[in-house]
Amino acid sequence: MRTCTMTVWAAVIVAVTSAAGPLRADPIAEQIRKAREAALNSSVVVSYYVERDDGVRADIRMLGTVVGPDNLVMFTSAAISSQFALSQFHDFKLIVTKGDDIQTYAAEYLGKDDLAQVAFLRVTDPKAPKLPPLEFQTGVTLEIGDPVLSFTSLGEPDGYARVIHLSRVGARIDQPVTLWLTAEGLGAPGTPVVTLDGKAMGIVGFTRLNRGTNARPNWSLGEVIWPAERFMERLKNPPKGGSLVKRPWIGVQTVTPVTKDLAEYYKLGDRRGVVIGQIVEGGPAEKAGIKAEDLILALDGKDLKGTEGQLVENFTNNLRERKIGDTVAMEIWRAGKTETLKVTLVQEPKSAAEAERYKNTQVGLGVREMVTMDRLQRELPASESGVVVSFLDPAGWARDGGLQAGDIVKKVQDQDVKTLADFRRVFDAEIKKKPKEIVLFVLRGKKDTQLVRIETHWDAAEKPKADTPGAPKPDAGGDKKPVEKKSDAGAPPRAEKAPK
């Protein structure tokens, strides 16, 4: 009902603003003017900054869309880079523009869902007006050649004036999920894609198709229309408290497709599937009895399908869309025999971005807890413990002592540090003693260990201006943490798009 009113209201605005009248009657232009309104009314600017590990701050502005009551705003999950811990994102705000009038309201970041490609925030400022939400529609099927609208904007100096893209659907891709491509440019990632009859049927998305993994010439890279089906559920049930929507996980690594040749070799006929290269110790797949080199041909009785380039994505996507705790019947092919094994999906392990962190600015180091991916990438056994060096002050004591980013600290002053809590406890206690040196025992790369001695200069650190002869001089004699405030408000929000 409310949407109806909105549409009518929007139509009136169009009528008013276009009072001067177009030079020629152009039915398409007329349709565009009508179709854009709802999306424009719900279009807002999301603003926040990221404090990088080295202390440098990067301001980010991009387009978001009001999608729910109480000023719930959706934007692209790509903007919340997984490189950074949640604690590094600060000062979420919503910028609402009406002509020259620009209002800023405080907001709270709610979380993101990378699979659905959306992130959310909610306005917390009590002074904020109720903003009109855009209603997305599922079940809209686009045909090749259909025109669609999407949006981007100019920067702050120009009042974030919106720019409309008109593009035509160029292709439909069904694997691993149905989506559409355009050969022409679309607007900023996360902005609504609207049909000419005014249906917001999706957002500007990104997949392997436009992430530019193929550097081959003449392979057209389209822009992706990510249909509303992919994020509707999340929109109705947004994350809370800045959480990352966790997906199910079975603990397999290096999954490759069952190629045509492999299917022929194993006499699988038309059946396809994936090959499991490695099983994660203690993961659900191992518990279910799956082994490295097993082929998986079907999930819950449904054969895996797709081209060689799509099979693996279809397999992982199928699992990721299920619920944590569900059981999947996997048809396994092993040495010529098939059997069905039941795998119970567990929540995917903590990512490096979610890992807890510790930072000591005086020593000039930051560490984070070790996560499953660290062990897998470095081929370390599940029993390997320690904390990972995630930050080094370029002019800090730790770096001068030869500590390197990625080192796994296993001992501090000869005391074992298996977890971040251990590290925090031991390191803080040692720092209090103001030792002349802090000696760490670290694992570098995959197997080399060594001692790293960090020489401290407490006197200099406490009296940075001390110029008395004989007193140790402060490091680099200046600001240790340059804050290079990036004032790139004018930069288009497109900058956040995954590089092509």
Binding site: T256, D261, E293, E437, V439, F441, D448, R453
Partner: protein, 473 residues
């Protein structure tokens, strides 16, 4: 006042100078002009210096290619043995040397040692004789006596310009160039020696040529340029002497490993509660190696090796320490003393042979790749979890292997259901498959910890193209 200019010109005989005088820094030495000294040095080594043209075949991108290069060398005995660099002639199949008197003679490789980047060649004496060519052997000096500031000449063939001499001084007598220097193809070098740094011009082609002191003795082998001006590096000749001895004796150099890495003790002595010069810190232990078997752990301090004290305060000292260990006979039971938690533990290590990352490459032409055995050293370097299998070193563009996704660094562990332990075994399986004209081959490949199946499709119709039917008019 410059010392060189102040030096008294003495018409002393060369023999007198060499026999009677110590190094020039000796205050009792008789001074002669720099000009004259340089000529003496030249006359002693110049007739022993050769230009080396070497050719070898090597797999590049999975295909055998002929490669050639030019370097320098120095004859060090009357039998016509030439010392040069491994990277000049260490894998050469054909070698030609051009003597100082411009005569060209063939030579063959006697033995080589990538770890020190050295090789020994043998001139074809019959050809020397037949051509009536003459040569002279240079004297190898004592590189331990060289100091910063000592005058030196570099003789060789920079950019192929034979019989070139450049002049300079020792800029540093124990330069370290880091560990893990690469000789190409992942082959390591420089782990067991420090370097003479000199400002005598050393350019490509000087490699293998002698660095000569002003007494006319070879004190180094010019090996590396510094990538900058007036920065060249030479392997000290004392390092070469042991290499020469072993090569002349058995055609190769054998080294030992004990499976441990070191870091300098410098500034860690307080933390480790040891004296400033008490040993070297053991930083890392190969979990399968001799040190691990002896119960040695990282953070232990090696204070005595084979009855002799160990000093490893500075990084420079670690190169000597590594050389000492590597010079221990293979399989020897070596008494060592380890300091751990305030106690000195007497332990015994049984040394193992140190391998290089390379072994003989084997070609599998129909399958489109080249592979080799996995040496202990290769497994260590590439973090491979086993020495069983075949390590792929090159993949031919467009061939079956590449099309199926085989890449450099893959480890072939199985063909069909049959395990493959080494390159020779794989070659047997390969030969049988080719004889049987097997059209599909399933390889199981290790990539990191994963096992990936790869199916090769092989065609056998090459050279048997059906004749095109005659065109009827």
């Amino acid at each position: 006042m410059n010392r060189g200019l102040a030096a008294v010109v003495l018409a002393s005989g060369i023999v007198g100078l060499l026999a009677g005088c110590g190094p020039q820094r000796d205050p009792t030495a008789t001074y002669i002009s720099l000009e004259q000294a340089r000529k003496i040095a030249r006359d002693h080594v110049y007739p022993a210096t050769v230009r080396v043209d070497a050719r070898r075949s090597e797999f590049v991108g999975g295909e055998k290619r002929r490669m050639g290069g030019t370097g320098s060398g120095v004859i060090f005995d009357d039998q016509g043995h030439v010392l040069t660099n491994y990277h000049v002639a260490g894998r050469a199949e054909e070698i030609t040397c051009i003597l100082f008197n411009k005569e060209r003679v063939k030579a063959r490789l006697v033995g080589s040692d990538p770890w020190t980047d050295l090789a020994v060649l043998q001139l074809d004496l019959a050809e020397v004789q037949q051509k009536g060519a003459t040569f002279q052997a240079a004297t190898l000096g004592d590189s331990a006596l060289m100091e910063e500031g000592d005058s030196v000449l570099a003789i060789g063939s920079p950019f192929g310009l034979s019989r070139s001499i450049s002049n300079g001084i020792i800029g540093c007598h124990d330069r370290i160039l880091g560990t893990g220097l690469d000789l190409g193809g992942g082959l390591e070098t420089g782990l067991f020696n420090t370097w003479f740094q000199t400002d005598a011009a050393i350019n490509p082609g000087n490699s293998g040529g002698p660095l000569v002191n002003f007494r006319g003795e070879v004190i180094g082998i010019n090996t590396r340029g510094g990538g900058g001006n007036d920065l060249g590096f030479a392997v000290p000749i004392n390092v070469a002497k042991e290499v020469i001895r072993q090569i002349l004796e058995k055609g190769k150099v054998t080294r030992s490993t004990v499976g441990m890495s070191f870091q300098p003790l410098q500034d860690l002595e307080a933390f480790l509660e040891v004296g400033k010069t008490e040993g070297a810190v053991i930083s890392s232990i190969d979990p399968e190696g001799p040190a691990a078997k002896a119960g040695i752990q990282p953070r232990d301090i090696l204070v005595e090796y084979s009855g002799a004290k160990v000093e490893g305060r500075y990084p420079e000292q670690l190169f000597d320490l590594r050389r000492r260990i590597s010079d221990t006979p293979v399989g020897a039971k070596v008494p060592v003393k380890i300091r751990r938690a305030g106690e000195v533990l007497p332990l015994e290590i049984t040394t193992e042979e140190l391998t290089t990352v390379r072994s003989q490459e084997q070609d599998y032409p129909k399958w489109g790749f080249v592979g080799q055995d996995i040496t202990e050293r290769l497994a260590l370097r590439e973090n491979l979890h086993t020495t069983k299998g075949v390590f792929v070193t090159g993949v031919r563009a467009g061939a079956a292997g590449e099309q199926a996704g085989i890449g450099k660094g893959d480890v072939i562990v199985r063909v069909g259901e049959q395990d493959v332990n080494n390159a020779a075994e794989l070659r047997k399986t390969y030969d049988a498959a080719v004889r049987a004209k097997q059209a599909m081959i399933l390889l199981k490949v290790h990539r990191g910890l994963a096992v990936v199946p790869v199916v090769l499709r092989i065609t056998y119709d090459e050279g048997k193209k059906p004749a095109t039917p005659p065109v009827k008019k």
